[in-house]
Symmetry: C2
């Protein structure tokens, strides 16, 4: 079987013609849309044809077959390369009509490849550098699955096509360092070395020796003529045998084949024009109308699918024969089972009884100890803040180049690559990745966090040191705008638990998600256990709930999250004791969950009395919950360097200030209502 | 003079003793604060003592002398290294009492070095990788100043101390590629190669050959024993002579000198403890109490200041003798003069008369053509999207390794390094940097944008393709949460102009800022000129203003920004024509500017009628302006790939939908007010 994988499928149809099919489909689709990027598909058509025709094992009839090779188009703007191939090898959702609807509303052929939008798209790309970094996560997951189930069940490659942009972006540095360190030998990157970027020649902005750079990172690196199929094939064969991840620099001409524009940056991001395309048809001896591929060429491409299907069927037989089949399927389906919820409920009850006072980052570690004991699918990690994020537990030995049986990744000081790798691990299937950094450094991972949300991946961000409460490290480390940044992002749960009970609840909710990432914002400082009622129900699932109800009609409602809930409770007690003011305290661990509650529930929780929101962060977004008669107590600008308690006093986030504002509001509120 | 710069200042006091002064000040300060990072200052004390004692030219009596050497502590957690040196060489604001107040409220000795917080801090560091990348911008500015004024007025080095974290972060890749490409020969980085990061040995997470990596990027790279003063000195001498930027890998022991903890990651981020410090006093033969430095050692350090002062005075004489003195001073003080405002006022008037309809990104380029013609201090650039961001004008030839007389930086596909380099250019003095990318890729630059705001630097971000209006590129390229992310960040102006007039106004406002960065969110699609009144007053300076007033009492108020203002105007016309509803349209190019207006002005603009906010982005933050009876029309989730017009229709951001909502609101609002 190895031989048949490596030999060209079709001897009668030249790969040159198969590549030209890609070229014309790309030219025609971009021309019709009058939008898109023909240059890259044309430039890489030769190399990618070799990759698919001789190596890649995918089965269009079962696109998510777990042991398929992964193909990641990191240079996502060249999406027509992928769509053309998907059409040619027979993906059911990619008939020619989709190609001729390129970039139109509702078409499968979106501007950039979007995971879940069409079959067989392994990851969303377009933001440069994400694909190659996500692929590192896929390759890690492949090695982990192989370590657990053996090479008969998991033995595939992760191929990447990357452009100059992918290699210039900083995230690529983080990713290739990590990949080289872990010796991800089944990761193979084809670099479209066309020496052209949008502004013009790459020599305008870079003098990097990429081969030397990748070798410095522990990669195997080769350079070939990207238009020479045999050279490309030999390089891929060598790469497949390497004990390291591999870079193959394919020297290409952007827009290769174009009659007069070949090699010009003008082919990068715009239609070539009818005249140029007509001339190119003549030059390449392609006497076919737009959106037409001669049957013998189509048939040659379909051979890729035939080979892939055979490989898949052989794999199914192997899988059905293995004793670990059931466990394998639970794993690949990421089935963490019901045991976690049961154990976490027990955990909550136990700590309510013990009245456990810990920082929520520590509560998180205690909950993780339970979770990681109940499933072996969770894969922890931290961007070199393990002892601060508290993301490691007794069940999670480190993953190393020599052993992928571990459950913890030392991601290094690489927040962005960590987030992208977690996306890749989740996309690959088999594991639930969580990774830690400080909340403020979510900034560094923003590009990949957004893709977690856009792709709907159930990855979990453990973001500790979530406010000025971290103290002395000062404003560079104190998040102010980060909760707003995360809350503004569609499809991500932002959890900010107030105590150990809520922390366990939020972990349970995060783990229950199938298509939404979660961010847990956790305190550095210790916080008391606040829950008075039974812990049977997961109250955080409501997003917001009444933690302390007024004893009579409410005079005021305090809304708070995380470490400020304790302060709100103290303010409420003070108001009752000193002023006879009846205050309800609402804990809001998740705005997103609260938004999904009924209007009636929301009204009941928020109440009709004036509201004060308290959060040691910026105000943006809070007005939605405060309503017309309320106010906000939090941060107006950046923080400062001092012990946490002093900072809270300095910035007025204190029971005393809250109580004073409450009294002012009640006065004003009553007067207004009288008018 | 060259000789005296390179020879050790003090022959009688060994540099070993000078370095030990740093060590004990760091140990003592961290111990007293019980918070901080002694390991790095102790490990790098020897190398940095050599750097200061033999090379660096700074003058504590005039810390912002323009031709001083720049020293950037990229590994900002080692802040006590900097504070100790500033104390030892006699900075007026760094008496011993500040060192003993390390990390306390109000102290100059903040947890991480903060620009502007104490004298002589060249840039804020702490978020790893920022310092080295900001230094690239400083070194670019140095070369630009030298190109304009000659080496007699500008001839200094930029020295950086970086740690493993700085070199692991992705931004470092972008920065060193750019620095190598531009051959920034006066940039010298000392890498604290201590093989330790927070999680433990760096071998947990990296196998990078850093010397090979830097050489691949076009750097001179050397490795030395960081505890051997002569070896360090020779390496610095070689680096100063190199035609390339230089890396000096200083192999060190973290916590060097500590009695029992030397070399352990436990010295990184916590106090060593009284016992260990006492033992270290014995081991290093330092029989002095905490916070005490023997006079002869202090005096040796003060020699650095003496040499620096002499160099500065010599430079002053040269400057006073040059014919270009006045021009030099205008430049270094970033004095763009009043001419820009006059010309922009003319520009606005001209285009109001012409009723110019262009995309605001194009309007921005047209305004820049005026601006760049009126000053030569603006330095443009783009992260490889020059033709899309439209940041280049006729006055801005590219800056290259061979010529720093240009005014445009091809930053490459490196948003993060672009932002950091702009920070460095602004910090150096002499120029006003602006740089372009797509708004969505502000994500990639977040870490450095935040530092622009925290440091209060007047850099300008040109963020085009600012909504679903970019169309076919789809959700990966369509910003949704990015306006909220920027608005949530303290101290940054977010401008979203609606037409060519507002675009010119916003550029004028951005250029007038002294201590606030600005982000201009600009459309890809063409927008009509909307201003009907006289263009004499810069209405965008108000943040929001009534673009179209109702003819009688307002039934409804529409709030909109940027490309949605046109749609609001159309909705208002439709409501009047079809429903007899009187609508005011408020354009809100800047929330931040509007927030600084009087309550009376804000009330007048927002009015008492129900409000609808319209913005092709997420809702977060808008409730503040909408008030209790209003609603929001915009995006609920991510965008899609299709032509812009179709997307606006699909997502309901249309005059028709606005009108329908207005009618619904008026009904509801009247009913509510009647109750």
């Amino acid at each position: 079987m190895n031989i048949s994988q490596k030999a060209p499928h079709s001897a009668t149809i030249a790969e040159k013609d198969m590549a030209n099919a890609i070229r014309f489909l790309a030219m025609d689709a971009v021309q019709k849309a009058n939008s898109g990027h023909p240059g890259m598909p044309m430039g890489m058509a030769d190399a990618v044809t070799v990759l698919f025709n001789r190596f890649i094992r995918i089965d269009p009839s079962l696109p998510d077959w777990p042991d398929r090779d992964r193909f990641v188009l990191s240079a996502g703007h060249g999406s027509m390369l992928l769509y053309a191939i998907h059409h040619l090898i027979g993906f059911a959702d990619m008939p020619m009509s989709e190609l001729s609807s390129f970039r139109q509303f509702g078409a499968k052929t979106a501007g950039h490849p979007e995971y879940g939008h069409a079959l067989g798209i392994e990851t969303t790309t377009g933001p440069l550098g994400q694909g190659i970094s996500t692929a590192v996560g896929m390759a890690i997951a492949e090695q982990m699955m192989a370590a657990r189930f053996g090479s008969s069940l998991c033995n595939h490659f992760t191929y990447v096509v990357a452009g100059d942009g992918c290699l210039q972006e900083g995230i690529s540095h983080e990713a290739i360092d990590l990949a080289g360190h872990l010796k991800l030998r089944k990761l193979i990157v084809l670099w479209d070395d066309n020496q052209i970027s949008i502004d013009g020649a790459t020599s305008l902005s870079t003098s990097m020796d990429q081969l030397a750079r990748f070798r410095a990172a522990g990669w195997n690196a080769q350079a070939v003529d990207g238009h020479d199929p045999e050279a490309v094939a030999k390089a891929i064969e060598r790469a497949r045998k390497s004990r390291k991840p591999s870079l193959i620099a394919c020297r290409t001409l952007i827009g290769k084949g174009a009659a007069s524009m070949e090699g010009s940056h003008k082919t990068h991001g715009a239609a070539l024009g009818d005249k140029e395309i007509t001339a190119t048809r003549e030059k390449l001896d392609w006497p076919h109308p737009p959106f037409f591929v001669p049957p013998q060429i189509k048939s040659a491409w379909e051979g890729v699918a035939v080979r892939g299907r055979a490989a898949r069927e052989t794999w199914e037989i192997r899988k059905d024969a293995t004793r670990s089949k059931a466990r394998y399927e639970r794993t690949i389906n990421r089935d963490i089972g019901p045991e976690i919820a049961r154990r976490l409920a027990r955990f909550r009850n136990e700590h309510r009884e013990k009245v456990t006072k810990v920082a929520t980052r520590q509560a998180s570690q205690m909950a993780l100890e339970v979770i990681n004991g109940a499933t072996d699918l969770t894969i922890g990690g931290s961007a070199d803040l393990t002892g601060s994020n508290l993301t490691m537990t007794s069940q999670t030995p480190a993953i190393t180049a020599g052993s992928f049986r571990g459950r913890y990744l030392h991601y290094g000081i690489r927040e962005h690559a960590m987030a992208a790798a977690m996306n890749g691990i989740a996309l690959h299937g088999g594991f639930v990745p969580y990774g830690g950094t400080f909340l403020v450094f979510a900034d560094y991972a923003r590009g990949a966090i957004r893709l977690s949300a856009l792709m709907g991946l159930p990855v979990i961000y453990v973001l500790t040191h979530d406010s000025i409460g971290l103290g002395e490290d000062g404003p560079t480390h104190q998040p102010i705008e980060h909760l707003a940044m995360l809350r503004a992002t569609p499809n991500i749960n932002v959890f900010r638990p107030a105590d150990i009970i809520e922390t366990a609840e939020c972990w349970e909710l995060a783990l229950a998600e199938k298509s939404t990432p979660s961010a847990l914002a956790l305190s550095r400082q210790a916080l008391p256990m606040l829950r008075e009622t039974d812990t049977q129900e997961n109250l955080s699932a409501r997003g917001a709930y009444i933690l302390r109800e007024a004893k009579g009609p409410r005079d005021i409602t305090l809304l708070a999250t995380g470490s400020e809930v304790e302060i709100a409770v103290q303010a409420a007690e003070k108001l009752r004791a000193e002023n006879g003011v009846e205050t309800a305290v609402v804990s809001m661990p998740s705005w997103e969950k609260f938004e999904t509650q009924t209007d009636a529930y929301q009204r009941r929780i928020l109440g009709g009395a004036p509201r004060i929101a308290i959060e040691a962060a910026g105000r943006l977004g809070w007005d939605r919950w405060i309503g017309p008669h309320g106010t906000f107590i939090g941060m107006q600008g950046f923080g400062a360097s001092a012990p946490a308690g002093e900072l809270y006093r300095h910035f007025g986030i204190t029971p005393k200030h809250i109580a004073a504002e409450a009294l002012r509001l009640i006065g004003r509120g009553r007067k207004e209502r009288r008018q």
